[in-house]
């Protein structure tokens, strides 16, 4: 998906406009591109149409939560192919283990520094499991 110049495509999902705005600006400042979704419903609509390298995903949102978006991705493994999911939330404390089980690659607790986001993007993130792997997980259930 990534373009020839090495920039990555981001989907920023958060119901708070200020947070979407600052995340988009940070992503762009780091030389990448970003699309936005204001809740889970918008996120899956966009995910159904477009491909991304990263999704920065809030958890508590109206209509459809971040958790539900991750579950939707598990049910549609082809849409999650090559996508790394980073949960950006104020409420992650005890959910970390559960999120990892669901296939979330990293967690960025709010508030965070630009440097933390840069580190995440810059390859400290584990390689996401292949679409095959995700599909197998779905079948196991």
């Amino acid at each position: 998906v990534s373009s020839a110049d090495g920039s990555l495509r981001f989907l920023v999902v958060d119901d708070n406009e200020d947070i979407r705005d600052v995340l988009v600006r940070m992503v762009e400042r780091l030389g990448h591109t970003a699309s936005v979704a204001a809740d889970g419903v918008e996120a899956v609509e966009i995910l159904a149409e477009h491909r991304f390298d990263f999704m920065l995903l809030d958890l508590t949102m109206p209509r459809m939560t971040g958790d539900e978006v991750v579950r939707w991705l598990r049910a549609h493994p082809d849409r999650g192919e090559g996508l790394r999911v980073v949960v950006v939330s104020a409420w992650v404390g005890e959910q970390r283990g559960h999120l990892q089980e669901l296939g979330v690659h990293a967690v960025l607790p709010k508030p965070f520094r630009a440097q933390q986001l840069r580190d995440l993007i810059g390859g400290t993130l584990p390689v996401p499991p292949s679409a095959d792997g995700a599909a197998r997980q779905v079948r196991k259930r």
Binding site: N16, D18, V22, L23, F112, A114
Partner: protein, 586 residues
């Protein structure tokens, strides 16, 4: 099974009667029996030959056997004569048979003849028996002898009935006293329902009642009275009688009286006026729903206050309540009153605790929500600060501003983090899941984290720990927080060059963590409020050092929920020592 023993004085009286029969009326043997609960007649007085006495005294004969003989008996006034030829009882069951030679003379006494005087009470219950055997003259008694014997029979009846009645009464009082004792013992029970459940068997047995109902009056004066302990299935007490009972109980309590209600008469209850319809409905309720023939209605109270009532019912004939039972029941009303007061006090305390707990839970949720809500604006602030700092060619004045804003954001982050932690450790609904925690390792970890600060301020750290690990029961990250907060406070409030001593030691009832510094100290006034949320010292030296005012509250809450203790010793200008005691883990 046995009925209570009749008093010795009555045994003596019966013995005298029996001896009168043998000595004055000319019978070889006279015996008096008393009915027992197991439907037998027990011989309690025997006069005559020592052989007969030995064999007969204490002997029990089924009442049914005697009643069967009486069917075929000749009626001689109060006496019953069973000629040997009609006798159906087995010879072996008679206990003692004289060695008199039987003859063919129809007027001669036969060794197997029975002459009896059965004793029934006014309710036709078989209560005793006078039996005589072997007239001295060897003849069946003539009219004159029968007449004399009848007189003794009537005397026997009076004595037996009085003896039995007194024995029963004594037993009832004993049982009723036992019931009162049980009520007093369960007074420490904490719910009214439980008290009723525990006492009911003792009370019904003690008062020979078939049913017991306890009504407690709504403490608020409203109509929500509660009825406990229908002994026979779920009998619904109509509201009318609850209201009536409430009124009657208040009147009775003020007079310190009980009321007896029987089917035959619904009496005036403490001056309470019932109209004819009410009397009829009460009669029908007792007769048809409760199937009771009489009811003892007892007020329950404490001091001047009437708190409820207890109704005891009896069924069948001869179920009157005597005055002594009434007095005992009133004492029971006092005992139950004390139990009710205790239960109500406890109930109120429990409610208050529940409310406090609810409030503490609400406070925790509120703090957590606010802290979380602050995280989004903080994220935005911090993100934009970072973006600004990434801009090229910033003037030094802008950089100064962004750095100051960065420090402010950091401080807000610490407050938010501390608030979240506080909300977790102050939530009474958040259960602690303790494991053995190696405090030595925890302190090492904290010192790793804070070592830089100590170095920057040239503080001397003295670590006083035993060679073997010191472990406490607790949650690792919470105990880490306790050590981190105490040690970082010590570093924060100790001027450069000072010393901080951290000691771990097993003590008699747990393990001890001591953090002592040579810092600015805490005044006695400040020590009082040290663990309150957001309390900051009034000491200017302390105020100049940034802090959230939550660190020690968090420590206090954590120690509390670990069932530990925390103590502080301090003197302004010379230093502070915090001592935390926690339950020891193996």
């Amino acid at each position: 099974v046995n009925q209570p023993d009749i008093e010795a004085v009555f045994v003596d009286a019966l013995q005298n009667i029996a001896e009168g029969v043998t000595e004055l009326l000319g019978f070889e043997v006279a015996a008096i029996s008393i009915a027992r609960d197991d439907h037998t007649l027990e011989m309690v007085a025997v006069a005559g030959s020592p052989a007969a006495r030995d064999q007969l005294l204490g002997r029990r004969t089924p009442i049914a056997d005697i009643e069967r003989e009486l069917v075929t008996a000749e009626e001689w006034g109060d006496l019953r004569f069973v000629p040997h030829e009609r006798m159906s009882i087995e010879v072996d069951d008679l206990g003692w048979v004289s060695d008199l030679e039987p003859t063919d003379d129809p007027d001669a006494w036969h060794p197997l003849d029975l002459l009896l005087a059965p004793i029934h009470d006014e309710h036709h219950r078989f209560r005793g028996l006078l039996s005589v055997d072997l007239p001295h003259d060897g003849r069946r008694p003539d009219a004159a002898q029968r007449e004399q014997l009848q007189r003794y029979a009537r005397q026997t009846r009076r004595s037996v009935l009085t003896a039995v009645e007194r024995a029963e009464l004594a037993e009832r009082v004993r049982l009723a006293d036992a019931a009162r004792k049980i009520v007093r013992e369960v007074s420490s029970e904490l719910s009214i329902g439980r008290i009723v459940e525990l006492c009911q068997p003792a009370i019904t047995t003690g008062f020979s009642a078939v049913g017991m109902w306890l009504q407690t009056f709504d403490a608020t004066g409203g109509g929500a009275d509660a009825v406990y302990g229908a002994t026979e299935g779920d009998i619904l007490v109509p509201d009318e009688f609850k209201v009536l009972g409430r009124e009657a109980a208040h009147l009775l309590w003020s007079r310190q009286e009980v009321a007896v209600i029987t089917l035959a008469s619904v009496p005036d209850i403490a001056g309470l006026v019932l109209d004819e319809d009410q009397v009829r409905r009460l009669h029908d309720f007792m007769a048809e729903t409760l199937e009771a023939s009489s009811m003892l209605f007892v007020p329950i109270g404490a001091g001047p206050e009437c708190l409820g009532s207890v109704a005891l019912t009896r069924r069948g004939p001869g179920t009157d309540w005597n005055a002594l039972e009434g007095r005992t029941a009133l004492e029971l009303g006092h005992d139950l009153g004390r139990a009710l007061v205790n239960a109500r006090t406890f109930e109120r305390e429990r409610q208050l605790l529940d409310e406090l707990r609810e409030l503490a839970g609400y406070k925790s949720r509120l703090i957590a929500t606010i802290a979380h809500e602050l995280k989004n604006p903080l994220t935005s602030l911090l993100g934009h600060l970072d973006l600004v700092e990434l801009e090229p060619d910033l003037t030094s004045s802008v950089t100064e501003s962004t750095q100051a804003m960065g420090r402010a954001v950091d401080r807000m982050r610490s407050i938010v983090d501390d608030l979240l932690l506080l909300s977790q450790v102050a939530d009474p609904n958040a259960a602690l899941d303790p494991v053995p925690v190696d405090l030595t390792a925890v302190v090492d970890e904290v010192l790793d984290l804070l070592g830089v600060t100590a170095d920057q301020k040239s503080l001397t750290i003295v670590l006083d720990v035993p060679a073997t690990p010191v472990s406490a029961w607790g949650e690792t990250h919470e105990l880490f927080q306790v050590c981190a907060n105490l040690i970082s406070n010590a570093m924060r409030y100790t001027p450069g060059g000072g010393t901080i001593t951290i000691a771990l030691a097993p003590i008699a009832d747990g393990v001890e963590i001591v953090v002592a510094d040579t810092g600015i100290g805490i005044s006695a006034t400040d020590q009082q409020r040290l663990f309150d949320e957001f309390f900051r010292s009034t000491n200017p030296a302390a105020l100049s050092t940034p802090g959230t005012g939550l660190g020690l509250s968090i420590v206090h809450r954590i120690v509390e929920r670990h069932h530990g203790r925390i103590a502080v010793e301090s003197e302004l200008g010379s230093g502070t020592t915090f001592t935390v005691t926690l339950p020891a883990a193996p």
